[in-house]
């Protein structure tokens, strides 16, 4: 068989169909649209079934904890009567140490049910350990493909630790240097082994998080007597936000504000061999968050089930220094030592809490485990070794790849809003590029995809001289 780059990429659709057991072509509709809800629903797995599978595999029912001292700290810098109560869902306590266990649990359950001998996932994040851990439970073989090193063989400490964790759960770890052609090796491995593609972006990878959304509401009612007013989600590929929001909608009809948050890595190129080790966050950042929210289908399956723009009410960024700062605050003020990337949403929530009255409830919906390499101490030391300047000042002055700025005063820690309307506009322009007309169904699809109105989409279509078929 011809295993050149071009030949393997040309076999992509066939390899994908065999490795996820989903024929995505059946959901395709007109010029742009596909039937998202049908794709999700066809995979089965109601909330009760998900909870049962997860309860039997060391996943879910993690504690929701009130961060009383962090709330008190926010109130020190809020105007009188402001500073919402901040709670954190301690997802680090799932087997394998992050909320990703929820996603892996359904993927591995499905792989086992369909008779696959093993699972493969392409991930440098916590998802690797999650898949390895769940595969171990089901007796599945497991390969994790990581982007880990630059071309000099210098690895991100956080990713090296995740490789160790994968191996601790019995997985084979294939590590690659920087570049999107990782996908080529990933396809070769799927073809060679015939294993299940435990992609983060199949319906299984999203369904598994719905239990988290449901638990947030139930936990909040139990602890505070009411539903939360705001849920803050760290956003990268969009799956965490999509699954959480969908889970919330299954247990309440009330509107709960869903805020996405990402670490600001503006200016660093994700496929750059030289930028690779200048960043201190390898996930939860804008380098994934922005491209994926604009074009969800850039993922490793033909149609991604992670579609954050459908559910997000507000999108904010925080800087690396602010997230490290709040990671230390969680440890020193609350006695909870956790990994930095999961605290992106905590840093955002600390700022957002100051906008809401004291009787409101904000939930930060994840934490992640910490250890050597995957700890703010290790990552700051690595940054300093790579020539990054670390100092106290105004975090808004931080330049990703050059500096990490801790707030010199608590009041300087500020989440910054991204313009969601601009993102939605770009999403629509990206999807209608090169078209002369679209169908009515496409128009509705774009409206739902961007959570806007028919009028909003029509205005943009008119601007680009695109007609809607009668």
């Amino acid at each position: 068989m011809n295993n050149s780059y071009e030949a393997v990429i040309a076999r992509k659709n066939d390899i994908m169909r065999k490795s996820v057991g989903i024929d995505y072509s059946q959901y395709e509709q007109d010029y742009i649209s596909f039937d998202f809800e049908k794709m999700i629903n066809d995979c089965g797995f109601g909330l009760d079934e998900i909870r049962k599978i997860q309860a039997e595999s060391g996943v879910g029912q993690t504690p929701l904890k009130e961060c009383k001292n962090i709330t008190a700290l926010a109130r020190k810098v809020s105007k009188p009567g402001y500073g919402a109560r901040i709670f954190i869902k301690d997802e680090a306590l799932n087997d394998s140490g992050s909320f990703k266990a929820r996603r892996a649990s359904i993927s591995c359950y499905q792989a086992k049910k369909m008779g696959y001998k093993g699972v493969i996932a392409a991930t440098s994040g916590n998802y690797g350990a999650a898949v390895a851990s769940q595969a171990a439970k089901y007796g599945l073989k497991c390969i994790i493909v990581q982007e880990c090193y630059d071309s000099e063989g210098i690895g991100q400490p956080e990713i090296i630790e995740k490789a160790r964790a994968c191996e601790a759960y019995g997985a084979e770890v294939v590590q690659l240097s920087v570049g999107p052609e990782l996908f080529y090796k990933f396809l070769l491995l799927l073809e060679e082994t015939g294993y299940f593609n435990a992609s983060l972006y199949t319906p299984y990878g999203i369904k598994g998080i719905e239990s988290l959304g449901a638990e947030l509401i139930e936990d909040s009612i139990r602890l505070t007597g009411k539903e939360p007013d705001m849920v803050v989600v760290t956003n990268a590929g969009g799956g965490n936000l999509t699954g959480t929001a969908r889970g919330i909608k299954q247990v309440t009809d009330n509107k709960i504000e869903i805020v996405g948050s990402s670490v600001n890595l503006k200016g660093l190129h994700m496929a750059s061999d030289t930028d690779f080790n200048k960043k201190s966050f390898t996930t939860g950042h804008t380098g994934f968050g922005i491209p994926f929210i604009m074009n969800p289908d850039r993922s490793d399956v033909p149609r991604s089930a992670a579609r954050a723009l459908r559910y997000i009410d507000r999108y904010v960024t925080v800087n690396q220094g602010e997230v490290f700062f709040m990671t230390e605050a969680l440890s020193i003020l609350e006695g909870i030592e956790r990994g930095p990337a999961g605290n992106t949403s905590l840093a955002a929530a600390f700022s957002l809490a100051q906008e809401l009255p004291v009787d409101k409830v904000i939930i930060v919906q994840e934490t992640e485990y910490t250890s050597a390499g995957k700890h703010h101490q290790a990552q700051l030391a690595f940054a300093r070794d790579n020539g990054i300047c670390i100092y106290f000042g105004n975090p808004q002055d931080e330049i990703p790849g050059r500096s990490i700025v801790f707030p010199k005063d608590i009041s300087l820690l500020k989440a910054v809003d991204l313009d969601l309307e601009e993102i939605k506009t770009k999403y629509i322009y990206n999807h209608i590029k090169g078209l002369k007309q679209i169908s009515k169904r496409d128009l509705e699809f774009l409206t739902i995809e961007t959570n806007t109105s028919i009028e909003f989409v029509k205005n943009l279509l008119t601007h680009k001289n695109i007609e809607v078929e009668a």
Binding site: S177, K185, D273, L333, A372, Q377, I390, F392, I410
Partner: protein, 101 residues
Amino acid sequence: MIKKNTWVKIKKTILKPEERTGNIPEETKKVPLLMWVKGYLLENANIGDEVEINTLTGRKETGKLLEANPAYMHTYGKFVPEILDIDRLLKDTLFGGETNE
């Protein structure tokens, strides 16, 4: 010499610079796409030799022999004293400087 059946780490070039996709930054395009993987050595060999290994899932991979019994050497890094300054700022703001008394 590293003996057959030893647990080792190898390195392999997956794509040479000229084989890389056009859609990447220049600094990435001029270096190869490399792979590192671990497995059991199939024949006696020396560090730097081209070897074949059997991976944990029973696959065969070839590449340059880097290391026998590769260890986890990642750490918490050199101490970053600013973290103590964060602690003091947090406690002073919350408790009004009592930590200094």
